[in-house]
Symmetry: C3
Subunit: 319 residues, 3 copies
């Protein structure tokens, strides 16, 4: 088990980003403020800033995700870092080397930051606990546990469109039980003071056992969406689309898909979010995904800014 705040140093400064759980509100707000400042960089003629110049960022994707890796690569390059992409599946781990030996070796190459995606929950924690003190770890998604930069970019998106958190109702719709995105969102929303967080879906995907997270469990979509300000739809993994947990993707859409009609249950100015890639006609109707209340593409843009903010903040706290 990790110590209470393994992502902070003894001065309470961010040195790793492992989870939105336990991340103090002040740090979260500072990250969002910094990301907002980086958003304006996108408008400039030259998009680079030298915050990570001479630093080496290693993308360690034990689980493949071209899209997420790309957003981190862009963010790091805009901060002027050198980026090393490691095709872990083909590297020494395949030769039987242990995770910690791989990490020790990469640390010895004078890496400054590891961006880690791993199918095992907790792997980035393990790495942060065992890597050399000059190395900083960013969790890019671990198992069903956490995806903190997605959580933060969702918060940036919500703040951008809704300004405040303290008066919001937010519905998270879909396979909440197996979603690291949902988990990171819930912890961040709680910390930032959202009073009404609902998780919505069938009992197999949204069990009552989620209640201790401080959420309202709704199995009825109308109840879940009623008067909300924000709808976060989750990607339905294909392995859930048939079998024990769910009869079929068509059946899911009929009951929980976000259509223009159902969108009316929410507030008039509600926004619709999705971490991507979307399954059109499964989680969401095409007309909603492409509609005026969808902020799915702005989420992607905000994701670059948030990742720059996380890397830049951690770099500023390097020993």
């Amino acid at each position: 088990m990790p110590a209470p705040h393994p992502q902070l140093n003894r001065h309470g400064e961010l040195i790793h980003l492992l989870s939105t759980e336990g991340l103090p509100k002040a740090i979260m707000t500072q990250l969002l403020d910094t990301a907002e400042a980086f958003l304006s960089i996108h408008q400039r003629e030259i998009k680079k800033v030298p915050l990570l110049r001479g630093k080496s960022v290693f993308n360690l994707f034990f689980e493949n995700s071209t899209r997420t890796r790309t957003t981190f690569e862009i963010a790091a390059k805009r901060l002027s870092a050198d980026v090393i992409n490691l095709d872990i599946a083909r590297s020494s781990t395949a030769k039987g080397e242990s995770l910690l030996d791989t990490i020790a070796n990469l640390s010895a190459m004078q890496a400054d930051m590891f961006v880690v995606r791993h199918s095992q929950s907790g792997a980035p924690f393990l790495i942060a606990q065992h890597c050399a003190p000059h190395v900083h770890v960013i969790n890019a998604g671990d198992g069903q546990h956490a995806h903190p930069t997605q959580g933060l970019l969702d918060m940036l998106t919500i703040r951008h469109y809704k300004k405040e958190f303290h008066n919001l109702s937010v519905a998270i719709v879909g396979d909440v039980a197996h979603s690291r995105v949902a988990r990171s969102d819930i912890h961040a929303l709680s910390t930032l003071g959202v009073p009404d967080i609902r998780v919505v879906g069938p009992k197999t995907l949204v069990p009552d056992s989620l209640r201790p997270l401080g959420v309202r469990v709704c199995h009825d979509l109308r109840e879940g969406l009623k008067d909300v300000d924000v709808i976060i739809t989750l990607r339905l993994q294909s392995e859930r689309m048939s079998g024990a947990l769910l009869p079929s993707s068509g059946e899911y859409f009929r009951t929980y898909g976000i259509t223009p009609e159902r969108l009316q249950w929410a507030k008039d100015d509600a926004i619709v979010m999705h971490p991507g890639p979307i399954n059109r006609g499964v989680e969401i109707a095409s007309s909603v995904a492409d509609g005026e209340r969808s902020v799915i593409l702005p989420q992607v843009t905000f994701g670059i800014a948030v990742r720059m903010a996380v890397m830049g903040t951690i770099a500023g706290n390097m020993a």
Copy 2:
């Protein structure tokens, strides 16, 4: 169907490079002039220029081609761009996302340029029509349709060795029917005023239906090569080397392979070109490929300069 000149903005400036077809002569000439200037950069101690500093160039190779991708990567890095290579086969498209959703997402990452290779003719057009206005598309080869940077580098090569276009005879030998290189060459040669363009090969690979392109169709190699200034040999794809269209690669070489003896049918100072990679003893005899009239390796060098010119010109026309 694309609009008449989807690659030009309303001021007639180049904003995408999709095809040599419909590319005005003035722009083509300007690109060749710019490329010539970049050739001298190769001689300098430091090869970089800051034209694309802070810009993000995404290599989107839906069809694999390490060689072509590498030339674009080098060209972009010499212009100081950040280059993101996307292994599309392993990315979200594999998760069932549509091409246009993938493109919308990558655009939202604040990409500035997409270099696109795709097995489907027209895919880069489709992308250029649907991507955000801040994104610029360069076609790096689409199906059997077009390969405009190859066409332009071939023109740069011809101009370098022959100075003028208006008095040339050019023979394109091989599988013209299925070749995007041939198509891009023919359009460029026509626009630049070459009066005598011949396409040479067996009826299965060089059908009479090519005539409307403004070329002379020759099934006899001697007739095709007679007194030409330039011989462009095409790569014979292995799938054509046996079966319905062609009896065998050996048979092809016996009838259409460029040997030292046949080279004599052309002018004394004729140059021999090939887009690479060459099949020795199929399209061309080794002694010709390595001989003094071969300009196959200079083509590669000119290819970097042309790609720098295209990217640099488009960057100059960015909104």
Copy 3:
């Protein structure tokens, strides 16, 4: 057969690094001195130096090795080079193009340096002999022949901990017969004046035929380790772990594995090295690998500095 010193120009300056065999002591010492200077760069806030700015370094790994490729990529980027990683297995060589045609094409892209790993002994020599004069070749491991940067980083490690070479006893333990690392180490140790070089292992892996290299062949581990200053353990390839050459990996460890008890046969301040990745419990006990006399992780750090020194030195000798 290569000429006597294909890696030196006629002024005796380093233009390729192909082997530690035949590398003059003065150059080797200069490379170690330069590497030592680069070590201090790792401590600086900004780790980059502009020695290779505008130069293009191509990583040509015909045999996959993520770890070694990464060290070269980091070293080149710290020298401000542009780095192009070529996935050779998927490139034109797969389309039937010959090695020398591939090399000629990449040279024509105005490459400045090729870092080559190849399963065939001698491939980097062949490339150095045939590539354009502006291209410089660094051997990153060829067959069972040579791995000169590993040899040099091992020398840097030894010099760092032992200061002098002239009074050392060094034992190389393991599959010496098939090891390019052992071969490069032995040539470097000899050149630098180490008087006592022992190779230690079973007759199948350490045959008497190694003696002409100037080494003492020991089949008894105790004799091999007695009073040595340095123990270099070699990685046991999995294909050797069973079958004709070796009964099993367990059997190997029982006879030749480095344990805390056997380490006592060496000098009190002996260091233990390994090129990585280690097989715990095969070549070396975990307690030794992680123990205070292990310098396995410092070797990795020194490896970056040595590769920077090699690239920087060659760049300084470019025409």
